[in-house]
Protein backbone atom coordinates (compact mmCIF):
# COMPACT_ATOMS: atom_id res chain seq x y z
CA UNK A 1 0.00 0.00 0.00
CA UNK A 2 1.38 3.41 -1.00
CA UNK A 3 2.49 5.59 1.88
CA UNK A 4 1.61 9.23 1.28
CA UNK A 5 2.94 11.00 4.36
CA UNK A 6 4.02 10.59 7.96
CA UNK A 7 4.00 13.55 10.34
CA UNK A 8 3.51 14.56 13.96
CA UNK A 9 1.16 16.96 15.73
CA UNK A 10 1.94 18.53 19.10
CA UNK A 11 -1.28 18.17 21.11
CA UNK A 12 0.21 19.84 24.23
CA UNK A 13 -0.35 16.85 26.57
CA UNK A 14 1.15 14.39 24.07
CA UNK A 15 2.25 13.99 20.44
CA UNK A 16 0.21 12.29 17.74
CA UNK A 17 1.99 10.46 14.92
CA UNK A 18 -0.16 10.40 11.77
CA UNK A 19 0.65 8.01 8.91
CA UNK A 20 -1.34 8.53 5.73
CA UNK A 21 -1.59 5.60 3.30
CA UNK A 22 -3.49 5.40 0.05
CA UNK A 23 -6.43 3.65 1.74
CA UNK A 24 -6.15 4.42 5.44
CA UNK A 25 -4.82 6.75 8.08
CA UNK A 26 -3.23 5.38 11.24
CA UNK A 27 -2.61 7.35 14.43
CA UNK A 28 -0.27 6.64 17.34
CA UNK A 29 -0.01 8.49 20.63
CA UNK A 30 3.51 9.40 21.72
CA UNK A 31 4.15 10.38 25.32
CA UNK A 32 6.05 13.61 25.97
CA UNK A 33 8.34 11.82 28.40
CA UNK A 34 11.26 10.35 26.46
CA UNK A 35 9.24 10.50 23.24
CA UNK A 36 9.97 7.85 20.60
CA UNK A 37 8.29 5.84 17.86
CA UNK A 38 9.09 2.74 15.79
CA UNK A 39 10.56 3.32 12.36
CA UNK A 40 8.95 2.36 9.04
CA UNK A 41 12.14 3.00 7.06
CA UNK A 42 12.55 -0.64 6.08
CA UNK A 43 8.99 -1.14 4.82
CA UNK A 44 8.76 2.33 3.24
CA UNK A 45 12.13 3.94 2.38
CA UNK A 46 10.27 7.23 1.77
CA UNK A 47 9.97 7.37 5.58
CA UNK A 48 13.70 8.04 5.89
CA UNK A 49 13.12 11.75 5.31
CA UNK A 50 9.66 11.89 6.92
CA UNK A 51 11.04 10.43 10.15
CA UNK A 52 14.30 12.38 10.23
CA UNK A 53 12.21 15.53 9.73
CA UNK A 54 10.01 14.54 12.68
CA UNK A 55 13.13 14.03 14.79
CA UNK A 56 14.47 17.50 13.92
CA UNK A 57 11.09 19.23 14.24
CA UNK A 58 9.91 17.70 17.52
CA UNK A 59 12.93 16.03 19.12
CA UNK A 60 11.31 12.60 19.00
CA UNK A 61 13.60 9.56 18.86
CA UNK A 62 13.28 7.08 15.99
CA UNK A 63 13.56 3.53 17.36
CA UNK A 64 15.44 0.95 15.37
CA UNK A 65 16.37 3.41 12.61
CA UNK A 66 19.35 2.82 10.35
CA UNK A 67 19.57 6.54 9.59
CA UNK A 68 19.45 8.94 12.51
CA UNK A 69 21.27 11.91 11.01
CA UNK A 70 19.85 15.41 11.15
CA UNK A 71 17.92 16.36 8.04
CA UNK A 72 16.63 19.94 7.98
CA UNK A 73 18.92 21.14 10.76
CA UNK A 74 22.28 21.56 9.07
CA UNK A 75 25.87 21.91 10.28
CA UNK A 76 25.49 25.23 12.09
CA UNK A 77 21.95 24.69 13.40
CA UNK A 78 21.81 24.61 17.24
CA UNK A 79 21.55 21.14 18.82
CA UNK A 80 18.64 20.18 21.05
CA UNK A 81 16.03 22.63 19.89
CA UNK A 82 12.72 21.38 18.50
CA UNK A 83 11.15 24.26 16.61
CA UNK A 84 7.82 22.63 15.74
CA UNK A 85 6.93 22.08 19.38
CA UNK A 86 4.23 24.49 20.55
CA UNK A 87 6.43 25.85 23.34
CA UNK A 88 9.13 26.97 20.87
CA UNK A 89 8.41 30.61 20.04
CA UNK A 90 11.81 32.11 19.20
CA UNK A 91 11.98 34.28 16.09
CA UNK A 92 15.76 34.33 15.96
CA UNK A 93 18.44 31.71 16.57
CA UNK A 94 22.21 32.07 16.45
CA UNK A 95 24.67 29.98 14.50
CA UNK A 96 26.11 27.16 16.60
CA UNK A 97 29.50 25.45 16.30
CA UNK A 98 30.01 23.56 13.06
CA UNK A 99 28.92 19.93 13.49
CA UNK A 100 30.01 17.92 10.42
CA UNK A 101 27.45 15.89 8.49
CA UNK A 102 28.49 12.37 7.64
CA UNK A 103 27.59 11.66 4.02
CA UNK A 104 26.59 8.26 2.72
CA UNK A 105 29.67 7.37 0.74
CA UNK A 106 31.24 4.33 -0.84
CA UNK A 107 34.94 4.08 -0.09
CA UNK A 108 37.68 1.94 -1.58
CA UNK A 109 40.67 1.80 -3.86
CA UNK A 110 40.35 4.51 -6.52
CA UNK A 111 36.86 5.52 -5.41
CA UNK A 112 36.51 9.26 -4.89
CA UNK A 113 33.84 11.71 -3.77
CA UNK A 114 32.36 14.55 -5.81
CA UNK A 115 30.42 17.23 -3.93
CA UNK A 116 28.05 19.42 -5.94
CA UNK A 117 26.19 22.42 -4.50
CA UNK A 118 24.39 23.88 -2.64
CA UNK A 119 24.98 26.71 -5.14
CA UNK A 120 24.87 25.19 -8.63
CA UNK A 121 26.36 26.40 -11.88
CA UNK A 122 23.10 27.40 -13.56
CA UNK A 123 20.12 29.52 -12.59
CA UNK A 124 18.65 26.97 -10.23
CA UNK A 125 17.59 26.43 -6.64
CA UNK A 126 20.13 25.41 -3.98
CA UNK A 127 20.64 21.79 -2.95
CA UNK A 128 23.51 19.37 -2.50
CA UNK A 129 24.41 16.18 -4.36
CA UNK A 130 27.17 13.94 -3.09
CA UNK A 131 28.57 11.35 -5.51
CA UNK A 132 30.77 8.31 -4.94
CA UNK A 133 32.67 7.85 -8.19
CA UNK A 134 34.74 5.13 -9.82
CA UNK A 135 36.13 7.17 -12.68
CA UNK A 136 33.20 8.35 -14.77
CA UNK A 137 30.81 5.83 -13.23
CA UNK A 138 28.47 6.88 -10.46
CA UNK A 139 28.45 4.23 -7.74
CA UNK A 140 26.16 6.09 -5.39
CA UNK A 141 24.60 9.49 -4.88
CA UNK A 142 23.19 11.09 -1.76
CA UNK A 143 20.72 13.94 -2.19
CA UNK A 144 20.88 16.46 0.62
CA UNK A 145 18.47 19.39 0.73
CA UNK A 146 16.61 21.81 3.00
CA UNK A 147 18.88 24.76 2.26
CA UNK A 148 15.68 26.70 1.48
CA UNK A 149 14.03 25.74 4.78
CA UNK A 150 11.95 28.78 5.71
CA UNK A 151 9.83 27.08 8.42
CA UNK A 152 6.61 27.73 6.50
CA UNK A 153 4.69 25.17 8.60
CA UNK A 154 5.46 27.17 11.75
CA UNK A 155 4.88 30.51 9.99
CA UNK A 156 1.29 29.55 9.16
CA UNK A 157 0.30 28.46 12.66
CA UNK A 158 -2.10 30.89 14.31
CA UNK A 159 -3.33 32.33 11.00
CA UNK A 160 -6.80 31.98 9.52
CA UNK A 161 -7.11 30.04 6.26
CA UNK A 162 -7.63 33.31 4.41
CA UNK A 163 -4.52 34.87 5.89
CA UNK A 164 -2.61 31.76 4.81
CA UNK A 165 -3.60 32.12 1.14
CA UNK A 166 -0.87 34.55 0.07
CA UNK A 167 1.89 32.44 1.64
CA UNK A 168 0.55 29.11 0.33
CA UNK A 169 0.39 30.71 -3.12
CA UNK A 170 4.17 31.29 -2.93
CA UNK A 171 5.47 28.00 -1.48
CA UNK A 172 6.62 26.81 -4.91
CA UNK A 173 6.10 29.12 -7.89
CA UNK A 174 5.92 26.32 -10.47
CA UNK A 175 3.05 24.73 -8.56
CA UNK A 176 1.32 27.88 -7.26
CA UNK A 177 -2.09 27.12 -8.78
CA UNK A 178 -1.97 23.54 -7.48
CA UNK A 179 -1.12 24.68 -3.93
CA UNK A 180 -3.90 27.28 -4.06
CA UNK A 181 -6.41 24.65 -5.18
CA UNK A 182 -5.31 22.35 -2.33
CA UNK A 183 -6.03 25.18 0.11
CA UNK A 184 -9.28 26.03 -1.67
CA UNK A 185 -10.55 22.48 -1.15
CA UNK A 186 -9.81 22.73 2.56
CA UNK A 187 -11.51 26.15 2.84
CA UNK A 188 -14.57 24.77 1.04
CA UNK A 189 -14.78 21.80 3.38
CA UNK A 190 -14.03 23.70 6.57
CA UNK A 191 -16.56 26.43 5.95
CA UNK A 192 -19.22 24.10 4.51
CA UNK A 193 -19.34 25.94 1.21
CA UNK A 194 -20.51 24.31 -1.98
CA UNK A 195 -18.12 24.77 -4.90
CA UNK A 196 -20.11 25.48 -8.07
CA UNK A 197 -19.02 23.45 -11.08
CA UNK A 198 -18.35 26.51 -13.23
CA UNK A 199 -15.82 27.84 -10.70
CA UNK A 200 -14.21 24.42 -10.50
CA UNK A 201 -13.89 24.42 -14.29
CA UNK A 202 -12.25 27.84 -14.24
CA UNK A 203 -9.69 26.69 -11.69
CA UNK A 204 -9.09 23.45 -13.59
CA UNK A 205 -8.25 25.46 -16.72
CA UNK A 206 -5.63 27.39 -14.74
CA UNK A 207 -4.17 24.18 -13.29
CA UNK A 208 -3.75 22.64 -16.75
CA UNK A 209 -2.28 25.92 -18.03
CA UNK A 210 0.27 25.79 -15.21
CA UNK A 211 1.08 22.21 -16.19
CA UNK A 212 1.60 23.30 -19.82
CA UNK A 213 4.01 26.07 -18.80
CA UNK A 214 6.02 23.71 -16.62
CA UNK A 215 6.07 20.84 -19.13
CA UNK A 216 7.14 23.18 -21.97
CA UNK A 217 9.99 24.47 -19.81
CA UNK A 218 11.14 20.88 -19.20
CA UNK A 219 10.70 19.81 -22.82
CA UNK A 220 13.18 22.58 -23.64
CA UNK A 221 15.63 22.09 -20.81
CA UNK A 222 15.93 18.28 -20.99
CA UNK A 223 17.27 18.26 -24.60
CA UNK A 224 19.36 21.34 -23.72
CA UNK A 225 21.14 19.28 -21.04
CA UNK A 226 21.98 16.77 -23.77
CA UNK A 227 23.49 19.58 -25.86
CA UNK A 228 20.49 20.14 -28.13
CA UNK A 229 19.86 23.85 -27.62
CA UNK A 230 17.38 24.48 -30.43
CA UNK A 231 14.74 22.53 -28.49
CA UNK A 232 15.18 24.99 -25.63
CA UNK A 233 14.71 27.94 -27.97
CA UNK A 234 11.57 26.30 -29.37
CA UNK A 235 9.98 25.29 -26.07
CA UNK A 236 10.97 28.38 -24.06
CA UNK A 237 9.02 30.35 -26.64
CA UNK A 238 5.95 28.15 -26.05
CA UNK A 239 6.46 28.42 -22.31
CA UNK A 240 6.65 32.23 -22.50
CA UNK A 241 3.58 32.39 -24.76
CA UNK A 242 1.62 30.30 -22.26
CA UNK A 243 2.89 32.32 -19.30
CA UNK A 244 1.63 35.48 -21.02
CA UNK A 245 -1.77 33.83 -21.36
CA UNK A 246 -1.64 33.07 -17.62
CA UNK A 247 -0.92 36.76 -17.05
CA UNK A 248 -3.87 37.72 -19.24
CA UNK A 249 -6.22 35.43 -17.33
CA UNK A 250 -5.05 36.03 -13.76
CA UNK A 251 -3.11 39.29 -14.00
CA UNK A 252 0.00 37.45 -12.79
CA UNK A 253 2.57 35.48 -14.79
CA UNK A 254 2.54 32.63 -12.25
CA UNK A 255 -1.12 33.01 -11.23
CA UNK A 256 -0.23 34.00 -7.65
CA UNK A 257 -3.32 34.85 -5.56
CA UNK A 258 -5.68 33.92 -8.39
CA UNK A 259 -7.67 31.03 -6.92
CA UNK A 260 -10.47 32.67 -4.99
CA UNK A 261 -14.22 32.51 -4.79
CA UNK A 262 -14.89 35.19 -7.35
CA UNK A 263 -14.99 34.20 -10.98
CA UNK A 264 -12.29 35.79 -13.12
CA UNK A 265 -14.14 35.47 -16.44
CA UNK A 266 -12.16 34.16 -19.42
CA UNK A 267 -12.27 35.12 -23.08
CA UNK A 268 -13.05 31.64 -24.41
CA UNK A 269 -12.64 32.43 -28.10
CA UNK A 270 -9.15 33.80 -27.60
CA UNK A 271 -8.19 30.84 -25.40
CA UNK A 272 -9.56 28.31 -27.84
CA UNK A 273 -7.59 29.82 -30.68
CA UNK A 274 -4.45 29.81 -28.55
CA UNK A 275 -4.95 26.13 -27.66
CA UNK A 276 -5.47 25.17 -31.30
CA UNK A 277 -2.21 26.86 -32.16
CA UNK A 278 -0.42 25.10 -29.30
CA UNK A 279 -1.77 21.80 -30.57
CA UNK A 280 -0.07 22.43 -33.92
CA UNK A 281 3.15 23.53 -32.23
CA UNK A 282 3.44 20.44 -30.03
CA UNK A 283 2.69 18.12 -32.96
CA UNK A 284 5.42 19.79 -34.97
CA UNK A 285 7.79 19.59 -32.00
CA UNK A 286 7.08 15.89 -31.41
CA UNK A 287 7.48 15.02 -35.05
CA UNK A 288 10.79 16.87 -35.19
CA UNK A 289 12.35 15.82 -31.89
CA UNK A 290 11.49 12.11 -32.16
CA UNK A 291 13.61 12.00 -35.30
CA UNK A 292 16.95 13.19 -33.84
CA UNK A 293 18.92 9.95 -33.31
CA UNK A 294 21.88 11.57 -31.49
CA UNK A 295 19.47 13.00 -28.93
CA UNK A 296 17.67 9.69 -28.32
CA UNK A 297 21.04 8.04 -27.97
CA UNK A 298 21.43 10.16 -24.83
CA UNK A 299 17.81 9.73 -23.64
CA UNK A 300 17.22 6.01 -24.07
CA UNK A 301 18.31 3.70 -21.23
CA UNK A 302 19.70 6.67 -19.24
CA UNK A 303 18.68 7.00 -15.59
CA UNK A 304 16.31 4.07 -15.36
CA UNK A 305 13.86 3.80 -12.47
CA UNK A 306 12.26 0.34 -12.42
CA UNK A 307 8.56 -0.01 -11.71
CA UNK A 308 9.46 -2.17 -8.72
CA UNK A 309 11.59 0.61 -7.19
CA UNK A 310 9.02 3.30 -8.02
CA UNK A 311 6.44 1.31 -6.05
CA UNK A 312 8.80 0.48 -3.19
CA UNK A 313 9.75 4.14 -2.74
CA UNK A 314 6.15 5.41 -3.02
CA UNK A 315 7.05 7.62 -6.00
CA UNK A 316 4.41 9.95 -7.45
CA UNK A 317 3.80 12.17 -10.46
CA UNK A 318 5.67 12.18 -13.75
CA UNK A 319 8.52 10.11 -12.24
CA UNK A 320 6.14 7.30 -11.19
CA UNK A 321 4.02 7.35 -14.35
CA UNK A 322 7.11 7.16 -16.59
CA UNK A 323 7.94 3.89 -14.80
CA UNK A 324 4.47 2.49 -15.36
CA UNK A 325 2.91 3.27 -11.98
CA UNK A 326 -0.67 4.47 -12.46
CA UNK A 327 -0.89 7.28 -9.93
CA UNK A 328 -2.60 10.54 -10.87
CA UNK A 329 -5.03 12.51 -8.70
CA UNK A 330 -6.93 13.60 -11.79
CA UNK A 331 -8.21 10.12 -12.32
CA UNK A 332 -11.75 10.88 -11.18
CA UNK A 333 -15.19 11.46 -12.68
CA UNK A 334 -14.81 15.24 -12.94
CA UNK A 335 -11.62 15.11 -15.01
CA UNK A 336 -12.64 12.05 -17.02
CA UNK A 337 -15.82 13.79 -18.12
CA UNK A 338 -13.61 16.52 -19.65
CA UNK A 339 -11.37 14.09 -21.48
CA UNK A 340 -8.64 13.18 -18.97
CA UNK A 341 -6.59 10.20 -20.06
CA UNK A 342 -3.99 8.64 -17.79
CA UNK A 343 -0.63 8.79 -19.59
CA UNK A 344 1.87 6.03 -18.81
CA UNK A 345 5.29 4.94 -20.06
CA UNK A 346 7.12 1.71 -19.34
CA UNK A 347 10.91 2.12 -19.51
CA UNK A 348 11.37 4.61 -16.67
CA UNK A 349 14.36 6.25 -18.37
CA UNK A 350 14.98 9.88 -19.38
CA UNK A 351 13.30 9.16 -22.73
CA UNK A 352 10.19 7.83 -21.00
CA UNK A 353 9.88 10.90 -18.79
CA UNK A 354 10.32 13.12 -21.85
CA UNK A 355 7.71 11.26 -23.91
CA UNK A 356 5.31 11.23 -20.97
CA UNK A 357 5.50 15.03 -20.77
CA UNK A 358 4.72 15.32 -24.48
CA UNK A 359 1.68 13.06 -24.02
CA UNK A 360 0.51 15.04 -20.99
CA UNK A 361 0.85 18.33 -22.84
CA UNK A 362 -1.43 16.98 -25.57
CA UNK A 363 -3.97 15.72 -23.03
CA UNK A 364 -3.93 19.03 -21.12
CA UNK A 365 -4.59 20.96 -24.35
CA UNK A 366 -7.48 18.62 -25.18
CA UNK A 367 -8.90 19.00 -21.68
CA UNK A 368 -8.67 22.81 -21.73
CA UNK A 369 -10.57 22.79 -25.03
CA UNK A 370 -13.29 20.66 -23.43
CA UNK A 371 -13.39 22.87 -20.34
CA UNK A 372 -13.88 25.87 -22.60
CA UNK A 373 -16.83 24.20 -24.34
CA UNK A 374 -18.54 23.92 -20.95
CA UNK A 375 -17.36 27.32 -19.68
CA UNK A 376 -20.00 29.89 -18.85
CA UNK A 377 -18.93 33.48 -18.51
CA UNK A 378 -21.29 34.38 -15.68
CA UNK A 379 -20.11 36.40 -12.73
CA UNK A 380 -20.04 34.76 -9.37
CA UNK A 381 -18.91 35.69 -5.89
CA UNK A 382 -19.13 33.25 -3.00
CA UNK A 383 -19.15 34.59 0.52
CA UNK A 384 -16.37 33.20 2.63
CA UNK A 385 -17.46 32.16 6.10
CA UNK A 386 -15.73 31.02 9.29
CA UNK A 387 -13.90 27.71 9.34
CA UNK A 388 -15.14 24.95 11.61
CA UNK A 389 -12.66 23.30 13.92
CA UNK A 390 -11.33 19.99 12.69
CA UNK A 391 -8.72 18.22 10.61
CA UNK A 392 -8.94 18.53 6.83
CA UNK A 393 -7.11 16.84 3.96
CA UNK A 394 -6.75 17.64 0.29
CA UNK A 395 -4.98 16.20 -2.73
CA UNK A 396 -4.10 17.95 -5.99
CA UNK A 397 -2.12 16.75 -9.00
CA UNK A 398 0.40 19.50 -9.71
CA UNK A 399 2.68 19.53 -12.74
CA UNK A 400 5.15 17.52 -10.63
CA UNK A 401 2.75 15.09 -9.02
CA UNK A 402 0.47 14.65 -6.05
CA UNK A 403 0.38 17.39 -3.42
CA UNK A 404 -1.00 16.27 -0.06
CA UNK A 405 -2.12 19.00 2.33
CA UNK A 406 -3.42 18.55 5.85
CA UNK A 407 -4.61 21.42 8.05
CA UNK A 408 -5.92 21.27 11.59
CA UNK A 409 -8.11 24.20 12.57
CA UNK A 410 -8.80 25.29 16.14
CA UNK A 411 -10.77 28.44 17.03
CA UNK A 412 -10.86 29.51 13.38
CA UNK A 413 -7.04 29.53 13.10
CA UNK A 414 -4.47 27.03 11.86
CA UNK A 415 -3.25 24.77 14.67
CA UNK A 416 -1.05 22.58 12.44
CA UNK A 417 -0.20 23.00 8.76
CA UNK A 418 1.39 20.10 6.95
CA UNK A 419 2.00 19.75 3.26
CA UNK A 420 3.93 17.11 1.35
CA UNK A 421 5.21 18.24 -2.02
CA UNK A 422 5.50 15.48 -4.65
CA UNK A 423 9.22 16.23 -4.71
CA UNK A 424 9.65 15.20 -1.06
CA UNK A 425 9.14 11.54 -1.99
CA UNK A 426 10.61 11.78 -5.50
CA UNK A 427 13.92 13.28 -4.32
CA UNK A 428 14.42 10.12 -2.31
CA UNK A 429 14.01 8.07 -5.49
CA UNK A 430 16.58 10.00 -7.51
CA UNK A 431 19.67 8.10 -6.30
CA UNK A 432 18.22 4.83 -7.67
CA UNK A 433 18.57 6.19 -11.21
CA UNK A 434 22.32 6.83 -10.92
CA UNK A 435 24.13 3.44 -10.85
CA UNK A 436 25.31 2.31 -14.32
CA UNK A 437 25.34 5.89 -15.53
CA UNK A 438 28.24 8.32 -15.90
CA UNK A 439 28.35 11.57 -13.91
CA UNK A 440 28.06 13.61 -17.12
CA UNK A 441 24.52 12.27 -17.42
CA UNK A 442 23.51 13.38 -13.94
CA UNK A 443 22.24 16.84 -15.02
CA UNK A 444 20.18 15.19 -17.75
CA UNK A 445 18.66 12.63 -15.36
CA UNK A 446 17.99 15.28 -12.73
CA UNK A 447 16.34 17.61 -15.23
CA UNK A 448 14.18 14.81 -16.62
CA UNK A 449 12.59 14.56 -13.15
CA UNK A 450 12.62 18.35 -12.59
CA UNK A 451 11.83 18.26 -8.89
CA UNK A 452 11.12 21.25 -6.69
CA UNK A 453 13.50 22.39 -3.95
CA UNK A 454 11.24 25.12 -2.56
CA UNK A 455 8.23 22.81 -2.14
CA UNK A 456 10.43 20.12 -0.65
CA UNK A 457 12.30 22.31 1.83
CA UNK A 458 9.31 24.41 2.95
Amino acid sequence: MRLIARYVKDLTSHFELVTVYEDEITRETISKENPSFKTLMREHPSCIWFERKIKDDFGIKIENAFDNRRLIHQERFPQNISPMRKDFTQKEIDFADYAPYKYEAIEGDGVFQVAVGPIHAGIIEPGHFHFSQAGEDMLHQEVRHFYKYRAIEKMLEGKTLFEAKKIVSRISANESIAYQIALRDIIVEASKMALPNSLRVEHAILLELERLIHHFTDLGFIPNDAGFASALAYCSKLSEDTRRVMKKLTNHRFGFDSIGFEKLGFDTLYLKEFMENLEKEISFFEDWIMDIPSLWDRFDTTGILSKENALKYDAVGVVARASGVAVDRRENEFYKSYGFELCLEKCGDVGARFKLRVAEVKNSIAMIKNFLEAYKKNSMLLKESESRDGEYFSFVESSLGEIFMSIEIKNNTIERFFVRDPSFVNWQVLHLMMPNNIIADFPLINKSCDLSYAGNDL
Binding site: I72, Q74, R76, F77, P83, Q90, K91, E92, I93, F95, P118, I119, A121, G122, I123, I124, E125, P126, F146, Y147, K148, Y149, R150, A151, I152, K154, M155, K166, I167, S169, R170, I171, S172, A173, N174, S176, T217, S230, A233, S236, K237, S239, E240, R243, R244, R253, F254, F256, F284, D287, W288, D291, I292, S452, Y453, A454, D457
Partner: protein, 168 residues
Amino acid sequence: MIKFWLKRVKQGILTENVGLNSELESIKKELEASIKKRFAGSLAIRMVDSGSCNGCEAECNALSNPYYDLERLGIYFVASPRHADIMLLSGLMTFNMTPHVKDAYEQMPHPKWVITLGDCPVMESVFEKTFAIKAPVKEHLPIAYHIKGCPPTPEDIMRGLLEFLREG
Protein backbone atom coordinates in the same frame (compact mmCIF):
# COMPACT_ATOMS: atom_id res chain seq x y z
CA MET B 1 15.86 18.58 -39.07
CA ILE B 2 15.30 20.19 -42.50
CA LYS B 3 11.67 20.71 -41.53
CA PHE B 4 12.81 22.58 -38.45
CA TRP B 5 15.11 24.89 -40.39
CA LEU B 6 12.38 25.64 -42.93
CA LYS B 7 10.05 26.63 -40.09
CA ARG B 8 12.85 28.59 -38.44
CA VAL B 9 13.61 30.60 -41.57
CA LYS B 10 9.94 31.25 -42.19
CA GLN B 11 9.38 32.42 -38.62
CA GLY B 12 12.28 34.89 -38.60
CA ILE B 13 13.60 36.59 -35.47
CA LEU B 14 11.09 36.79 -32.64
CA THR B 15 13.13 39.09 -30.45
CA GLU B 16 12.54 42.15 -32.57
CA ASN B 17 8.81 42.34 -32.83
CA VAL B 18 6.48 40.08 -30.89
CA GLY B 19 4.97 41.36 -27.66
CA LEU B 20 7.62 43.94 -26.86
CA ASN B 21 6.94 47.64 -27.16
CA SER B 22 9.26 50.23 -28.58
CA GLU B 23 10.08 51.51 -25.10
CA LEU B 24 11.68 48.23 -24.19
CA GLU B 25 13.63 48.35 -27.43
CA SER B 26 15.11 51.71 -26.45
CA ILE B 27 15.93 50.35 -22.99
CA LYS B 28 17.78 47.49 -24.60
CA LYS B 29 19.80 49.92 -26.73
CA GLU B 30 20.60 52.09 -23.72
CA LEU B 31 21.55 49.01 -21.70
CA GLU B 32 23.87 47.86 -24.45
CA ALA B 33 25.56 51.26 -24.55
CA SER B 34 26.00 51.47 -20.75
CA ILE B 35 27.54 48.03 -20.59
CA LYS B 36 29.98 48.84 -23.35
CA LYS B 37 31.02 51.99 -21.52
CA ARG B 38 31.21 50.79 -17.95
CA PHE B 39 32.04 47.10 -18.18
CA ALA B 40 34.09 46.91 -21.38
CA GLY B 41 31.40 45.11 -23.29
CA SER B 42 30.06 42.47 -20.94
CA LEU B 43 28.44 42.20 -17.56
CA ALA B 44 28.82 38.89 -15.72
CA ILE B 45 26.08 37.95 -13.25
CA ARG B 46 26.21 35.15 -10.70
CA MET B 47 22.65 34.25 -9.71
CA VAL B 48 22.31 32.98 -6.14
CA ASP B 49 19.03 31.73 -4.73
CA SER B 50 19.04 32.03 -0.95
CA GLY B 51 15.57 30.59 -0.36
CA SER B 52 13.03 31.71 -2.95
CA CYS B 53 9.86 30.11 -4.32
CA ASN B 54 11.72 29.58 -7.63
CA GLY B 55 9.71 32.35 -9.29
CA CYS B 56 12.68 34.74 -9.55
CA GLU B 57 14.81 31.95 -11.04
CA ALA B 58 12.10 31.10 -13.59
CA GLU B 59 11.99 34.76 -14.67
CA CYS B 60 15.79 34.91 -14.96
CA ASN B 61 15.67 31.79 -17.12
CA ALA B 62 12.99 33.48 -19.21
CA LEU B 63 15.49 36.27 -19.96
CA SER B 64 17.23 33.78 -22.24
CA ASN B 65 14.11 32.90 -24.25
CA PRO B 66 13.80 34.23 -27.82
CA TYR B 67 11.59 37.16 -26.76
CA TYR B 68 14.10 38.75 -24.38
CA ASP B 69 17.45 37.23 -25.41
CA LEU B 70 19.45 39.03 -22.73
CA GLU B 71 22.84 37.69 -23.85
CA ARG B 72 22.85 39.72 -27.06
CA LEU B 73 23.21 42.81 -24.83
CA GLY B 74 26.41 41.46 -23.36
CA ILE B 75 24.86 40.37 -20.07
CA TYR B 76 25.75 36.81 -19.08
CA PHE B 77 24.80 34.54 -16.24
CA VAL B 78 28.06 32.86 -15.26
CA ALA B 79 28.64 29.52 -13.56
CA SER B 80 31.06 30.65 -10.86
CA PRO B 81 31.20 33.64 -8.50
CA ARG B 82 34.87 33.95 -9.48
CA HIS B 83 33.77 35.04 -12.95
CA ALA B 84 31.16 37.53 -11.76
CA ASP B 85 30.85 41.31 -11.50
CA ILE B 86 27.46 41.10 -9.86
CA MET B 87 25.71 38.76 -7.47
CA LEU B 88 21.98 38.69 -8.19
CA LEU B 89 20.49 37.47 -4.93
CA SER B 90 16.94 36.17 -4.62
CA GLY B 91 15.08 34.52 -1.76
CA LEU B 92 14.66 34.90 1.98
CA MET B 93 18.30 34.32 2.99
CA THR B 94 17.54 31.25 5.06
CA PHE B 95 19.49 30.24 8.14
CA ASN B 96 20.84 27.26 6.19
CA MET B 97 21.91 29.29 3.12
CA THR B 98 23.46 32.29 4.88
CA PRO B 99 26.99 30.83 5.28
CA HIS B 100 27.00 29.68 1.63
CA VAL B 101 25.84 33.07 0.30
CA LYS B 102 28.64 34.76 2.25
CA ASP B 103 31.14 32.20 0.91
CA ALA B 104 30.04 32.93 -2.67
CA TYR B 105 30.39 36.68 -2.07
CA GLU B 106 33.91 36.17 -0.69
CA GLN B 107 34.83 34.27 -3.84
CA MET B 108 33.92 37.17 -6.14
CA PRO B 109 36.81 39.34 -7.38
CA HIS B 110 36.78 43.11 -6.79
CA PRO B 111 35.09 45.32 -7.82
CA LYS B 112 31.81 43.57 -7.00
CA TRP B 113 28.20 44.49 -6.36
CA VAL B 114 25.17 42.75 -4.86
CA ILE B 115 21.78 43.32 -6.45
CA THR B 116 18.80 41.92 -4.54
CA LEU B 117 16.08 40.45 -6.70
CA GLY B 118 12.42 40.31 -5.70
CA ASP B 119 10.63 41.18 -2.47
CA CYS B 120 12.01 38.29 -0.39
CA PRO B 121 15.65 39.28 0.31
CA VAL B 122 14.55 42.69 1.62
CA MET B 123 11.74 41.12 3.71
CA GLU B 124 8.96 42.89 1.83
CA SER B 125 7.24 39.72 0.60
CA VAL B 126 4.29 37.96 2.22
CA PHE B 127 6.61 35.72 4.24
CA GLU B 128 7.05 36.60 7.88
CA LYS B 129 10.19 36.35 9.95
CA THR B 130 10.83 32.95 11.48
CA PHE B 131 13.85 31.49 13.25
CA ALA B 132 14.87 29.93 9.92
CA ILE B 133 15.10 33.26 8.05
CA LYS B 134 18.07 35.65 8.22
CA ALA B 135 16.77 38.29 5.78
CA PRO B 136 16.92 41.24 5.30
CA VAL B 137 20.16 40.72 3.41
CA LYS B 138 21.49 44.20 4.23
CA GLU B 139 22.42 42.90 7.69
CA HIS B 140 24.91 40.54 6.07
CA LEU B 141 26.08 42.03 2.75
CA PRO B 142 26.32 45.51 1.18
CA ILE B 143 23.46 45.96 -1.31
CA ALA B 144 24.15 48.14 -4.33
CA TYR B 145 20.71 48.00 -5.90
CA HIS B 146 17.29 46.38 -5.45
CA ILE B 147 14.88 45.10 -8.11
CA LYS B 148 11.44 44.74 -6.57
CA GLY B 149 8.56 42.49 -7.57
CA CYS B 150 6.98 39.18 -6.64
CA PRO B 151 8.53 37.97 -8.80
CA PRO B 152 9.92 40.81 -10.97
CA THR B 153 9.04 40.18 -14.63
CA PRO B 154 11.85 39.73 -17.17
CA GLU B 155 11.15 43.29 -18.28
CA ASP B 156 11.46 44.54 -14.66
CA ILE B 157 14.81 42.77 -14.35
CA MET B 158 16.13 44.36 -17.57
CA ARG B 159 14.93 47.80 -16.44
CA GLY B 160 16.48 47.21 -13.02
CA LEU B 161 19.87 46.33 -14.46
CA LEU B 162 19.78 49.47 -16.59
CA GLU B 163 18.84 51.64 -13.62
CA PHE B 164 21.71 50.11 -11.64
CA LEU B 165 24.15 50.89 -14.45
CA ARG B 166 22.87 54.47 -14.66
CA GLU B 167 23.14 55.04 -10.92
CA GLY B 168 26.38 53.16 -10.38
